[in-house]
Amino acid sequence: MRRNMFFKNTKIKKDDWDNVTVKVDAELIPAKISEVLNNIKITMGNSTDLVTRDFKTGKDGSIDIGIAYVDGLADKVFVQDYIIQPLMTDLRMTGLDIEIEKDPNVFEVIKNFNLVSGDLKEIIDLKTLYTHLLSGDTIVLIEGYKKGFAVSSQGWQDRGIQEPTSQTVVRGPKDGFTETLRTNTSLIRRRIKNTDLWIETIPVGNKTQTDVALLYLKDVANPKIVNEVRMRINKIEIDAILESGYIEEMIQDKTFTVFPTIHNTERPDAACAAILEGKIIIMVDGTPFVLIAPAVFVEFFQSSEDYYQRADISSLLRMLRYFCLFLALITPSAYIAVTTFHQEMLPTLLLISLAAQREGVPFPALIEAVMMEVTFEILREAGVRMPRAVGSAISIVGALVLGQAAVEAGIVSATMVIIVSLTAIASFVCPSFNMAISIRILRFVFMILAATFGLFGIIMGLIMMVAHLASLRSFGVPYLSPMAPMVAADQKDVFVRVPIWKMITRPSFISQSDSRRQATPSPKPPNKSTNEGGSQGENK
């Protein structure tokens, strides 16, 4: 019901958006070159990276040409060799001047015979001119024509394709997205050679005009969700988009939650897998992190390596991750509950040993646990932010001072240190950083509940957390699917990962169209007649 209401308003189409941008500022290009070049210089405040040049060419210098590009965005060598060179010299030396005498339309001649570039656009208004100029294109203007060319000449310095740092794998592709949108789309295209892979680009940000690209597999993705994503991105009215996090925060379903409802990844293979499941990728120029929508809870516990290792190993690892989720969430609170309220639940010997350790500790269990957990969070945050060079200092402080010395000084018990380390390690098992953070936040809530109501508090807290998760939606898809609402066929990729040849259908909670993935027969040994060759060989 609620979902239907959402999708009722999704009638805005892509075309409408394009019309809007064109209409905004349609000042046309003047016919005089000097006027245009001056306009550019004044508008950009004579910025030092702006390069403009005008020169005469043609048989007796009758043709005035002006070019403009931004140094650093455009490839200087390319501009030199393939734009200035042909215009300046080739136009005189080759027979082109004869062509021009025949056909006085210089513009067409230059377009057809002179500019050797694959990506060449005619521009007529100043707004488009600036968009192209600032994207690294070279603008070519010809005296007397109220239009010009934008020749694609991008060639800026960027970080090459490197191994992703956030989601590492042992086995699997080692390339990661970069900061350049075009490189990123090419990484996807190279993996999915299919005409149905559609890429839509929407400029977002009034000041930055950042390109935001939507990638989806047209006949697999749910059109309702695609429309919804597009509509939400079109609604964004902001001055700048510097990272995909900006988009993520502005298009999520519900803001009052600690759980991420949109997934992100740095790995092209993970992005491709998402596209093939019918999800939508949102790429933002300037960041290697792409967004995956819609996202469900279990997805944050899947690593792309799960599909590259054997099914049994992956299934075990996946269960280990859920177990670690549980550990990271409630170990400290369970310790607090047991030591404060339910001592009788422990075996006597363990109880005595715990009591002996806690004897010298001046704080109640809750204070002790919160203190240590906060200390750990401080260490972790310092580890992320500090300069690499002082890394060893932090580890010494962390391990020796806060671990050993604190126990010896009798401020915390040794058990507490073990528990905090265990939760810390367990929370890093989660393949997704933002889900791990949510769990860490909730851990403190659970600790307080445990200190007030013991085990009862933990159980009620768990029920409330699950209720909250069950009420979340990501682009209309229930967050806990396929566990609740239960879809039996989609259990193949939740707690266990069944062998690839068994994954016959795509997850049905995202999209129902073209749901069959494969028809591979299950692998089996060759039948006897073909096996004879082998056995004969053995006999010899």
Binding site: M1, T452, L455, F456, M460, A467, A470, S471, A484
Partner: protein
């Protein structure tokens, strides 16, 4: 309108029927023959639930509280319909008292029970805001764990070798009389005839009526078997005497588990089981109460009623029972007789008769009209 799936109906029905029985035991008055009580109650329960399902078939598109005005007319039907939300509220209050006594005797001895009730109701109220879809979804999430915990405790109890089949003997020592006495009204009503309340959500299930009938009856058999297993384990585990006098027999049983001195004190297990099932039962009681109030007061959104109903529940949780002995005495000797017999047996049967007569008259008229033509 919110919708729930067939599987969700199954889960909610099982949670509702098993409810607090899993800790308090079933048919304890019949002593070692309680398992016979369970079987008979299950059979009677199946019969009476079939009748409720038949009633919902005869009143398509209507919930429990709308049946009576529809069949008895506005002036007689409405007051009768109003009895049900009040009953649900009272039963919700009783569940709160169960929790109050269990938690303060076993796990949170020093905590004031008002704090426990408030915290419990806070979570329940949050669920009411989320709606029945979310209640059903958490049911789906917790159901497997619930089953695993029950099965786990069964396995541990079997392994620790505390069950004595001799405890069941002699069968029927006191004849059928005590068995029948504890079957009706208590045994057959507790959980089974109580399922009349589920008539508030049968409408929301997104399948045909036939499937609802199948699912509900299957769930009834399923929870009947769960209760039977529990009862058998408790009787063979702790014997008739303790079954009769223990406040929480299941609890007494699990605390006897001891496997090689390592696995013992499984009290936490039992408490977990109890809190989860009590939680679902209370959430459903309050959901049905709120739903009933909403339909009968014709308020557009049930959200406005959540806070008032929760406040009433806090008061009921505080005042329904003044001590545990009275609480149990009411549950066994008073409450089934003065409320359940009337509301779960007499009124639905009266409704069935009236509905069938009205239908027959209608058909007759139709036939007559056709004959005239």
């Amino acid at each position: 309108m919110e919708r729930i799936s067939q599987y969700q109906l199954f889960v909610l029905t099982v949670f509702f029927q098993v409810g607090t029985t899993i800790i308090f035991g079933f048919g304890a008055a019949a002593g070692r023959d309680a398992w016979i009580v369970t079987i008979i109650s299950l059979l009677v329960g199946i019969f009476v639930i079939s009748i409720y399902l038949f009633l919902s078939y005869l009143n398509p598109g209507l919930t429990l509280v709308e049946w009576f005005p529809a069949q008895f007319g506005k002036w007689i039907g409405t007051p009768i319909a109003w009895l049900y939300p009040l009953l649900f509220l009272y039963e919700g209050g009783r569940i709160l008292n169960d929790i109050k006594y269990l938690t303060t005797t076993i796990i949170l001895v020093d905590t004031p029970f008002l704090a426990i009730i408030l915290f419990f109701l806070l979570v329940v109220a949050y669920l009411q805001y989320c709606g029945i879809e979310v209640i059903a979804r958490i049911g789906e999430i917790f159901f497997p764990y619930f089953l695993v915990m029950i099965l786990g405790s069964v396995v541990l109890i079997l392994v620790s070798d505390i069950l004595r089949v001799d405890n069941l003997l002699p069968v029927l020592k006191n004849g059928w009389k005590p068995i029948l006495a504890s079957t009706f009204p208590l045994g057959a009503s507790q959980g089974f005839a109580q399922s009349l309340e589920l008539a508030m959500i049968w409408l929301l299930v997104s399948t045909s009526h036939k499937e609802i009938v199948k699912t509900t009856l299957f769930a009834t058999v399923f929870s009947g078997l769960l209760i039977l297993i529990t009862v058998l384990m408790i009787i063979t585990g702790i014997g008739e005497f303790f079954y009769k006098i223990e406040s929480f027999p299941m609890f007494a049983l699990v605390s006897k588990v001891n496997i090689g001195g390592i696995i013992k004190n499984l009290d936490a297990f039992a408490v977990l089981l109890f809190i989860i099932s009590a939680f679902f039962k209370l959430s459903l009681h309050l959901f049905f109460a709120i739903r009933g109030f909403q339909i009968l007061t014709k308020v557009e959104s049930s959200r406005k009623l959540i806070i008032p109903i929760t406040i009433i529940s806090i008061y009921l949780g505080y005042s329904v029972s003044s001590n545990y002995e009275e609480h149990i005495k009411v549950a066994i000797e008073v409450f089934p007789y003065n409320l359940w017999i009337m509301l779960l047996w007499i009124l639905p049967f009266a409704l069935l008769i009236v509905t069938l007569i009205k239908r027959a008259i209608k058909n007759r008229k139709k036939e007559m009209a056709q004959a005239k033509e």
